[in-house]
């Protein structure tokens, strides 16, 4: 038998690449942005965040953009929990509520400047997540889902009775301080151009979207992020490899809820009004649909998902009455055949979700990337080379 003789042979280690070569490889791998997509994507996003509101004043575009941005931040957060860590949660509206009312208190009542209430909302959300995590993580599957649903109702109970801050179920108006240092982003003036509240808000929201995507990107590249994905891929193998399941998932929870808090704070700024009634089961389902349809566990999934899901109601409202099967919400109930625009959106949400789950579980991001690859191949005249697996 030759195996016993391998004892002696294998005492030597095969030659490794030169130390400096290896060092350079590792340095490259730990650099800030790895692929051209992320590098240019980050630049493009920040650019768009600042430039778009400066060149357009179309209220429809701005309103849509702001809504999409707000939901994106919440979805990016939920994606960390759902997509990357494989945990199911319907509780995101609860954390948005926490962030929203923190903002009302700190940015509205106390009128502290923008960075203060944004940070406060993130911290409040994160703290709420920190408190909830030990409860939610002790449970599996159904129990976890139902518990997260329960959080919405408990949140409702807490906030509806805190009338001084939240205005009960009627809600409260809140004009949050939009100052970033000396600049009032709610009434931006550059040179002799005076920009509207919506334009300034758009900028704030999308810069924060970029920041949250960046944060999540870095977390995923760290050991905590890898541990999250490891737990999702194989819970047992991850634990046996030394991953502390509770600590890792708690981190995911806290990140998810902190981002939810920020989203909630921004939610208040759009209408300058908020009510606990808005943070309900419908919103929970919206978030789940956004994250799933966009693409679970992808970087752009939450944003694309938000774009699609938030656009539909606004677009439906616009074309209602024009297209034969769409009526406006205000049309009389029996005025001929047609789906009210509001219901149409809900219908589309459901259909999209089911179609994605059945046919493309990786979400819209995957469809787009495959499409993009095909287009690129056609344009560059490449033949697809089959990749070797060895």
């Amino acid at each position: 038998m030759t195996i016993k003789t391998l004892h002696t042979v294998q005492r030597t280690v095969p030659a490794t690449p030169a130390a400096s070569g290896r060092q350079r490889t590792i340095k490259r791998e730990t650099a800030l942005f790895q692929s051209p997509v992320t590098r240019y994507g980050a630049v493009a996003l920040t650019f768009a965040a600042i430039v778009i509101p400066l060149i357009t004043n179309d209220p429809f575009v701005l309103a849509l953009g702001i809504t999409v941005g707000i939901f994106s931040i919440g979805a990016v957060g939920l994606n960390v929990l759902n997509g990357y860590s494989g945990q199911i949660s319907l509780a995101q509206p609860f954390f948005l509520a926490v962030g929203a009312f923190t903002a009302v208190g700190i940015g509205g009542v106390l009128q502290l400047p923008l960075p203060v209430w944004i940070l406060a909302s993130a911290v409040a959300g994160g703290l709420a997540g920190f408190v909830v995590a030990p409860f939610a993580l002790r449970l599996r599957g159904v129990y976890q889902i139902v518990l997260s649903l329960g959080l919405i109702y408990i949140g409702y109970y807490i906030f509806v009775n805190w009338k001084s801050l939240t205005g009960g179920n009627v809600g409260t108006r809140a004009s949050l301080n939009m100052h970033l240092g000396p600049i009032d982003l709610g009434a931006l003036s550059l040179g002799n151009m005076l920009y509207s509240y919506q334009q300034g808000l758009f900028m704030v929201v999308w810069v924060l979207v970029a920041a949250s995507m960046f944060l999540v990107h870095r977390i995923l590249k760290s050991s905590t992020g890898r541990s999250m994905v490891a737990l999702r891929d194989s819970d047992l193998a991850a634990r046996v490899a030394g991953v502390n399941s509770f600590r890792t998932l708690s981190s995911a929870f806290i990140i998810s809820s902190a981002l939810g808090g920020v989203a909630g704070a921004l939610y208040v700024t759009q209408l300058r009004y908020v009510s606990i009634e808005q943070f309900n089961l419908v919103m929970a389902l919206q978030f789940v649909i956004i994250v799933t349809v966009g693409g679970l566990g992808t970087a752009w999934g939450p944003v694309i998902g938000s774009l699609v899901i938030c656009s539909i109601p606004l677009l439906a409202g616009r074309v209602a009455g024009v297209l034969p099967f769409l009526k406006t919400d205000s049309a009389a109930p029996n005025s001929g055949f047609g789906i009210p625009a509001g219901q149409f959106s809900i219908l589309v949400y459901g259909l999209l979700l089911i179609l994605v789950l059945l046919f493309e579980p990786k979400g819209l991001v995957n469809i787009f990337s495959q499409l993009g690859t095909k287009i690129r191949d056609v344009v560059c005249g490449n033949r697809r080379r089959t990749t070797t697996t060895e």
């Binding site: 038998m1 030759t2 195996i3 016993k4 391998l6 004892h7 042979v9 294998q10 005492r11 280690v13 095969p14 490794t16 690449p17 290896r22 060092q23 490889t25 590792i26 340095k27 791998e29 730990t30 800030l32 870095r218 977390i219 590249k221 760290s222 050991s223 905590t224 890898r226 541990s227 994905v229 490891a230 999702r232 891929d233 194989s234 047992l236 193998a237 991850a238 634990r239 046996v240 490899a241 030394g242 991953v243 502390n244 399941s245 600590r247 890792t248 981190s251 566990g297 990749t387 697996t389 060895e390």
Partner: protein, 267 residues
């Protein structure tokens, strides 16, 4: 050389009316190549589950001075126990390097959240260097960025091995590492196992069906059947142990030179 690393005392594991392990006791010496054999259902994997913290028996399991029974799997991993899975516990959405990186952060400990400032960056750097070294030892450095899901079975087994070794364990548990492999592949994998053993100063415990392989590599063997210890000794002793032969075949062992024990080798 006969310092005891792992001491298993009177382990009994019961669930749902089944007794998987019944008063199992043995010791593993440092730097030993220890094997566990037994027919299907003998309790080998249950024993591994107890050793890695995935099952909770009565009795005592000590690694050097630490009691393992009652600890969580990740705590046991930090104490220095690594383990491979028979059905491969790989993280299929990640690359080879990332799979190994998950284990590489155990030493030094402390998870880092942001990977780019100061100390975190140095920790990440050190972990990557360590991960690459492990990959070198099993010859997978060229596949570092290949997604694990695209690799053939044999290569995946090597990744599983690297992943288990990357946590710098003192004790490495290998659950049928060469199952489904032919002679060549088996020799190759065992060569990698040896290399890791010597470079990382490991103590190995191996679950295996193939008596030929055990004869070649093991220092001592533990034979199990229906959760009971039916033999403990050198491979020669085990091979001629009548209880062991009966467990495999149920007939009396004659004086034949070739023991009629099953082999999983394909020529």
């Amino acid at each position: 050389m006969t310092e005891t690393l792992l001491s298993v005392e009177d382990i009994t594991l019961r669930f749902g009316g089944v007794t998987a392990l019944d008063s199992v006791s043995f010791e593993v010496h440092r730097r030993e190549f220890f094997a566990i054999i037994g027919p299907n259902g003998a309790g080998k994997t249950s024993l591994f589950n107890c050793l890695s913290g995935m099952a909770r028996p009565t009795g005592s399991i000590t690694l050097s001075n630490s009691q393992l029974v009652g600890q969580r799997p990740d705590q046991i991993a930090r104490l220095g126990v690594g383990r491979t899975f028979q059905n491969l516990g790989l993280f299929l959405t990640m690359s080879v390097l990332e799979n190994v990186l998950v284990s590489s952060h155990i030493r030094p400990p402390a998870p880092t959240v942001a990977g780019w400032w100061g100390r975190s960056k140095r920790v990440e750097f050190a972990a990557r260097e360590h991960a690459y070294q492990i990959l070198d030892l099993v010859g997978l450095a060229d596949f570092a960025h290949a997604p694990v899901s695209s690799l053939p079975y044999g290569t995946r087994k090597r990744v599983e091995l690297a992943k288990a070794a990357a946590s710098n364990p003192r004790l490495l548990l290998l659950d049928e590492p060469v199952a489904g492999m032919n002679t060549e592949e088996t020799e190759e994998l065992i060569a990698h196992v040896y290399r890791l053993k010597y470079q990382l100063d490991l103590t190995l415990v191996l679950i295996e069906h193939d008596i030929h392989l055990i004869m070649d590599v093991a220092d001592r063997v533990l034979a199990l059947d229906f959760g009971n210890v039916i033999g403990l000794g050198t491979p020669e002793e085990i091979q001629t142990n009548p209880r062991v032969i009966e467990a495999y075949l149920g007939i009396e062992h004659g004086a034949a030179a070739e023991p009629a024990l099953p082999t999983k080798r394909r020529a």
